[in-house]
């Protein structure tokens, strides 16, 4: 009895709506064309643009941290200078790893376009492993710095350094978690439109992190070695 009571008022406005829609159709057929168009393209496009806006706001977060590093980058407070603690070969290796992971993700996207789920997963796995080795090398570098006494508490330069590089590393870590989630998703449901949309968002995220890394290795490491 109660279900009937609740469903009845719902049905009534719907009927009214249909009647109103029918009236609109006779008056203005373009109304229905727009509705049909909306139906064909679900939230996919809006999601991608929205995710892009998120990435841009993330870029502003990094801009603030880069500015902080730029201001504090020469405040050594008697602590070590970049020249004394940075190891460029290690940074070059990390840069290469991240760049290669960018193109392996790109190949994953191409496999996705062709509808090859297994191949997509393989490329995703390779990308995730490359990302993990990137974070591993970064943690090794951090550990070494801290063992040498170059802790974030030592100077303004090191505080800003650990904040900037650490924030980027944290982003990569979350990217890896996302990759693992997508591996499971594709395994369970295949390349359904929702998964494709998610993979496209992750693609933008991953390539964006590589762009941020260009700023990091240029402004922190390379220019640091020149100071």
């Amino acid at each position: 009895m109660t279900t009937k009571a609740t469903s009845k008022p719902k049905a009534a406005p719907r009927k009214k709506k249909i009647a109103a829609a029918a009236a609109t159709v006779s008056a203005d057929p373009t109304f229905y064309l727009i509705e049909a168009d909306d139906h064909h393209h679900p939230t996919g496009g809006a999601t991608l643009l929205g995710f892009w806006i998120y990435l841009m706001s993330d870029a502003l977060l990094f801009a603030a941290i880069f500015a902080t590093f730029g201001v504090l980058g020469t405040s050594y407070a008697g602590g070590p200078t970049p020249r004394e603690i940075f190891e460029l070969p290690l940074v070059a290796l990390n840069t290469a790893i991240l760049l290669v992971s960018s193109i392996t993700y790109g190949f994953g996207m191409l496999a996705m376009e062709q509808g090859k789920a297994k191949l997509t997963q393989t490329w995703l796995l390779i990308t995730g492993l490359l990302g993990a080795s990137f974070v591993g090398i970064e943690l090794y570098e951090f550990g070494k710095l801290i063992a040498e006494g170059a802790t974030p508490q030592t100077s303004g330069f090191l505080s800003a350094f650990f904040t900037l590089v650490g924030t980027h590393g944290l982003h990569v870590t979350f990217g890896i978690i996302w990759i693992v989630v997508m591996l499971v998703q594709v395994q369970k449901r295949g390349l359904i439109p929702e998964n494709k949309r998610r993979l496209l968002c992750l693609s933008m995220f991953w390539h964006f992190l590589d762009v941020v890394w260009i700023g990091v290795f240029t402004f922190v490491y390379l220019l640091g070695m020149l100071r």
Binding site: G44, W52, M56, G106
Partner: protein
């Protein structure tokens, strides 16, 4: 760029989804350019063939800016067509804000540092009547 775009459009049409991914060619071109644009600045700093820190720094920054643009076009596929141009508008807007934030902070803090120098302070005090 036009043949690339044609393939993207066709791919988008097949699965009824949005565009936003490039072709194999664009990925490979992006990767090749990025590898070169990364290797040269590392070589410039590590081998120091110029012997001039200022010139090396300027060149390194130029290479970084070019590489960021290469990534944007080849990997992130930002162009005037994607999402009706809105990704590009957002990108340019962010770039402007980014420049203002970083350059503005450096500018202000540099002058603040200079003005807070002990010698500067006494000078200004003595100038006041």
């Amino acid at each position: 760029m036009s043949p690339n775009h044609a393939t993207t459009e066709r791919a988008a049409g097949t699965h009824g989804e949005m565009e936003g991914h490039g072709s194999k060619r664009s990925y490979l071109i992006g990767f090749g350019l990025s590898a070169i644009l990364t290797a040269i600045p590392f070589w410039l700093v590590m081998a120091n063939p110029l012997g001039n820190d200022g010139a090396t720094a300027a060149l390194v920054i130029v290479f970084a800016v070019v590489q960021i643009l290469v990534h944007t076009v080849c990997f992130l596929h930002v162009n005037t067509q994607s999402e009706g141009g809105w990704t590009m508008v957002a990108y340019i807007f962010t770039g402007v804000i980014l420049l203002i934030t970083i350059a503005g902070s450096l500018w202000i803090m540099y002058h603040l540092n200079t003005n807070m120098m002990p010698g500067m302070m006494t000078e200004q005090v003595s100038q006041t009547p």
